[in-house]
């Protein structure tokens, strides 16, 4: 009976928020999923133990309270002195104080444990997510992964906290109260408890039906937001076809459908609590009739009746709790299954190691301590060679994405000596990005087709390989954190000198006046919105900060004006003397700074050589150069 309303509100908010799956799982299946929780529960065993002890203490003390009330009333009925009543009332208050303390303590222990478990599990989930290969993120939507990290986590917290409490509370209180009632008046008790199991059944039944209807509500809600989302994403179509009214009607219809589904839930859900109250009231009525009859027939004292009334009221909530326990555990099991699906996936490092097939030891990239990673067959931990030894070689590289017919790259071969800069030019879809993604093995290249220092990149351990590369992607993704954090993302202990150096090179320094809190200014969703050019420059600083062996630059200056671009490039090339760079750009002014230029077209290498040589050749590079020169002159002349 303790925790009645908490169980209820939490369980119901659960129903409303997570819109239970409505799936029914067998008990053994549930238990199997719950075994995952075993180590966590064992880790907090003393919390659970103390919590349960407090809970049982509270429950027992609670049973005394109606007795005190009964004795007071009997004393009053017998016309005893107030002092006699006072003595009982003092006991009542003492017990109530004990109950209050116990209630605080069991929450302290059990909720404390379940929230710690939630934290550990979330840590573990996130740690594992970060180690999964890119393909995983292409195959799974952010929305689904987020649902696992939020709703499913909450379900598990409920199952490891509230369900636990509800279970012990329910079993103990039901048995104890039934025992007391039967001891007091077996015949009456027998009659009275008849409707009680109905309450439990009702809740289980409701849980299942509601689950289904909630699912419909959820779908309709999603439909509704799809209409909004589509209308806003396609707002140019909506506006230019003057279809505001049409889409507003569509939205209205989606609203109506959502309303109908919601009301279908209300028709059931709205009956739920009133029905519990009704059934509970029915037991009271039965007690009044049967017990009242017994009083009339001198078979029971009036005080006894009053006490049984009080006990009866206490019995209702454990019955409700029992129903919710079943629902909560079911939901928790489904959620745990969804979490386990991710936890059981092999991290990228293991997969990468398996690709190479060489044996050796490698640390688990996941970092979550509880996770016993299976021994990974991994690459020999050889550092990526630096200096002149680190030349890059592409040997007859052909690659076709799974599920597509045309190859993204076909028979590309080139050699870039260490410390040189390679410029890459090509149309959209010519294979530049694929080539770049193979370098840090975001896309796994075929064996022995991409070599650093004469060794297949697949034979380096993934962490070492990526450590050697600084990547500036085409789309500059920054995290919602300070500018400093973003720049120092790869190397948190960057020296102050290097920090200001990379800011200078990436031409961020001159923007400092625009940032209210200097380099501590928060950017992104919860801070300042940076312009495309600013983002690109932060991304450049981020890559430069780690001073990588190889710098990869994927058209990362497109949003910067030509003058700034010149400045940044000059700075970068000076900074990177003796190190390798790969720069993708469509601007000849950028490319001409490279030592070697490769032109890709339809996945094949069509031109390769120093810029001075290519500009003399009749080909794509020279034509592009001429065109850009001309357009610039025309515009200049007109201005």
């Amino acid at each position: 009976m303790d925790e009645d309303s908490t169980i209820l509100t939490e369980a119901c908010s659960g129903l409303a928020l997570h819109k239970a799956d409505g799936q029914v799982y067998h008990a053994h299946y549930m238990l199997k999923e719950f075994r995952t929780l075993g180590p966590y529960i064992r880790q907090h065993w003393y919390r659970y133990l103390l919590g349960i002890l407090c809970l049982l203490l509270v429950d027992s003390a609670q049973l005394l309270i109606p007795q005190y009330i009964q004795r007071s009333i009997d004393a009053v009925a017998a016309g005893q002195a107030r002092s006699a009543v006072l003595a009982i009332v003092v006991w009542l208050l003492g017990t109530a104080a004990l109950v209050a303390a116990g209630r605080f303590l069991w929450r302290f222990f059990i909720h404390g444990a379940s929230r710690r478990i939630e934290r550990d599990l979330r840590d573990k989930l996130f740690g594992r997510l970060m180690t999964l290969p890119m393909k995983f993120f292409q195959d799974n939507s952010v929305g689904d992964l987020m649902a696992r990290a939020t709703n499913d986590m909450q379900n598990i917290r409920m199952a490891s906290g509230m369900a636990f409490v509800a279970f012990f509370d329910g079993v103990f209180m039901s048995l104890a109260i039934l025992a007391v009632m039967f001891a007091r008046h077996p015949a009456t008790a027998l009659w009275v408890v008849i409707p009680l199991p109905l309450i439990t059944l009702l809740i289980i039944f409701f849980g299942r039906f509601l689950g289904r209807r909630f699912k419909v509500v959820q779908e309709r809600y999603a439909d509704m937001s799809t209409v909004v989302q589509e209308s806003l994403q396609g707002i140019r179509v909506v506006k230019s076809f003057v279809k505001e009214d049409y889409f507003s009607r569509r939205f209205g219809l989606a609203n109506d459908r959502y309303r109908d589904a919601s009301m279908a839930v209300v028709r059931l859900y709205g009956l739920f609590f009133p029905l519990i109250t009704f059934l509970a009231g029915l037991t009271t009525l039965l007690l009044l009739l049967v017990g009242g009859g017994a009083v009339l027939e001198n078979r029971m004292s009036p005080g006894n009746l009053a006490a049984m009334l009080a006990y009866l009221e206490m019995l209702v909530w454990p019955m409700v709790g029992a129903g919710f326990t079943v629902n909560m555990i079911q939901r928790g099991a489904v959620s745990l299954k969804r979490i386990n699906e991710i936890l059981h996936l092999a991290p990228e490092a293991e997969l990468a190691a398996a690709v190479v097939g060489e044996s050796g030891d490698q640390g688990d990239q996941g970092g979550a301590s509880l996770m016993a990673t299976s021994r990974a067959a991994a690459a020999v931990p050889t550092a990526v060679p630096t200096g002149a030894a680190g030349h890059l070689e592409i040997r007859d590289l052909s690659f076709t994405y799974p599920g597509t017919a045309t190859p993204a790259l076909s028979s590309v071969s080139l050699r870039l000596p260490a410390g040189q800069t390679l410029g890459l030019l090509g149309r959209i879809g010519s294979g530049k990005s694929t080539l770049l993604k193979m370098l840090p093995r975001i896309v796994e290249p075929p064996r022995a087709s991409l070599l650093i220092g004469g060794r297949d990149i697949g034979s380096y351990c993934l962490a070492d390989l990526r450590q050697a590369i600084g990547f500036v992607p085409q789309e500059s993704f920054l995290f919602s954190d300070s500018i400093r954090h973003n720049v120092c993302f790869a190397c948190p202990d960057l020296s102050a000198a290097r920090f200001s150096e990379v800011l200078r090179i990436s031409a961020l320094e001159r923007d400092i006046d625009l940032f209210a809190d200097g380099w501590e200014t928060m950017v992104g969703e919860r801070g300042l919105t940076l312009s495309g050019g600013q983002k690109q420059r932060v991304a450049i600083a981020r890559a430069l900060a780690r001073n990588p062996q190889i710098l990869v630059f994927d058209d990362a200056l497109s949003a910067v004006d030509a003058g700034t671009e010149e400045l940044i490039l000059a700075g970068i090339l000076a900074d990177r003397a003796g190190k390798t760079n790969i720069i993708v750009s469509n601007r000849v002014s950028t490319l001409q700074r490279a030592d070697l230029i490769a032109v890709l077209d339809d996945g094949g290498l069509i031109q390769f050589g120093p810029p001075a040589e290519l500009i003399r050749q009749d080909g794509f590079y020279a034509e592009t150069a001429a065109l850009q020169e001309l357009a610039h002159h025309v515009a200049e002349g007109r201005d």
Binding site: T6, I73, V76, G79, R82, L86, L92, A96, R103, F108, G112, R115, R119, F126, L129, V142, M224, T226, V228, I235, V237, K239, F241, V242, K243, E244, D245, F251, N255, D256, Y258, M263, V266, G270, L282, L285, L288, L289, G292, E297, N298, R299, P302, A306, Q365, G366, G367, G429, R466, Q467, F471, P473, F479, F489, A490, L627, Q628, A631, V634, A635
Partner: protein
Amino acid sequence: MANFFDSDEILKSFDWPIVRRILAFVRPHKLLLACTVLSLALSTVGSLFLPLISRRIVDGSLMVSSVSLPRQVLDDERFRGLPGLDKAVTIGDRLFVRRSDLSGLPAASRAALLADGALDEAPCYVVAWAEAADLPASLRGDLGSCLPDFGQALAGPVWLDGALVLPEARLLALSPPEARQLRRADFTTLRRDGLWFLVSLALVLAATFGQTWSTSLTGQYVMKDLRLQLFRRTAGQSIGFLSRQPVGRLVTRLTSDVETINEFFTNVLVSFVKDGSVMVGVIIVLFAMSPRLATVVLLSLPPVFIASTVSRQKARDAFRKQRTLLSRVNAFIAEHICGVNIVKLFGRERAVAADFSVDNHGLMKASLAEMYVFATFRPLIEFFSATSTAAVLYYGAGLHRSGLISLGALIAFVNLIRMFYAPVQDLSEKFTILQSAMAGGERVFSLLDTDQALPDRPVASLAAGVRGHIEFDQVWFAYKQEDWVLKDISFTVEPGQTLAIVGSTGAGKSTVVNLLPRLWDIQRGYIKLDGTSIVDLPLAAVRTAVRPVLQDVFLFSGTIAENIALGLPLERSQVEAAARTVHAHEFVERLPDGYDTRLGEGAATLSAGQRQLLSFARVVAHNPAIIVLDEATSSVDTETERLIQAGLAGLMQGRTTIAIAHRLSTIKHADRILVLAEGRLAEQGSHDELIALRGLYYNLYRLQYERKGATA
């Protein structure tokens, strides 16, 4: 995704202007509102009735001891009209009154009665109008036939004037069958009151359901009205405004923020009214039963109010902190899933997991802190409830001894106190929901109050048959401030002509598509349609006359036919005709469901070329006089290219066309070609003229179009 960033809950305190605006949306639903109020009242009354009925059962049927008074009391001026005396039964020269009936007696009158020696408090049981044959055998033996003198104890049963008076001890000594026989009337009352109890229960059941139903329906109607208003308002804003707003954030405003307002209806408002009225109702009933004992209860309440005020503040702070951290943790996860490639490229998996642990740990601490507030508050309130009960029992004992309160009333007090305390915990929690509803309301209304629509103040109208004459007159345009994308552009297109615009990337070509249908307004110069500036024409008329064909085709979820018609009342044959014109019919027909094939997530996927053709068909179905075509740059296979070219021919036939051209065929078939360079008009003329010029176009042509043209 935006949801995860946007869930940053800012709790507001109660805000009247927002509540008033929300309530304004309820006004049209008066009937439902009346339904809510009625069912609310019924369920409140019903739930207050229940303890009263059980009190009546205890007092009226189970505990029926009476006391007696001399009959002369009725003639006494002092006692005339005293409550309870009217229910007295006259037996011989005495009045018998149930103790519970006398509990309402004013203390002074009671004292006077006792002082006069008129009140005989020895408890006895009275059965009026019984048949002698019905008397239990054990009583018949010593059945007396006259009452003892007043003041002398009643020793045994007395049978007088068809009524039986029995000392209470003798009643309790009866065997069950005898007691049942004697107390038949009490059984009847018990059953009758039980029926009332059942009726009240059913009433509460029906009324509570009715109330939930009607408030939910009201909430749903309000949400729909609000959402539609928001939708119309948002869709009416300028593209300039909308392009600055993340779509996710707007979607959140229209969906989940509105949902928090619904919470206000279904959860908060009703609870406040219901719990409030239950609490007030309980106090009223308590005072009606016993003003003195009710005062005792009232005096025990101040600690409750103090505790709930303090805990509400603490809970709010704790909740706010927990929510902030929760949304930070969720945003962290969402963001690192989106940017997982950065994490991987820099090999920071371990490091971000460690950073995450810090936030995650903070979240746990905050949620523990929140839990402690509730873990303290709830037991404390329960304890206060026990304190009130104890006080009532203690003072009630005294009152009962003085006959000022019946036992049933005392039991009812104990129950009512529980009823009073139940909502106390609830109300505090509802307060938090109220606060987030306020915050949601504020965001929703601020969007509703935003007006960023393009001005639509026509001073001229467009003739029914639009000729399709277009003039750009010294047009300057910038998306923001002075960052000119188009500089001083002038040209004209005669009706039915085709104009191709070419230029290198970033030359400002695509901007033209936005300007002619007035998706954006230009800063300087004029754009004229059939000789009238488009800002002087009705916006809808301009957009009906000019249809852009956009580079990235946007298809809505729905069937292919719906995507072509977009709500136009077209026959299937008309849809097909439009599709045939652009050669889309062939591939649509090959789809399993033809024109009824559903598009969108998880449905049939179309190739880029097919999508292009559908967007052409859509334009043809709407039959504009002018089209502005932004050709897709993405490379397509030869077959698709052939299809698109055929489609384009159908699309452009008989219409004034401005094409942002990437295809050689489009350019070659144009009547005139405009060459843009960095926002300025560099060259214009026919293909042959421009080739002869050997300028920018000549080079562009060779580099960008010739190769593609050769393959196409």
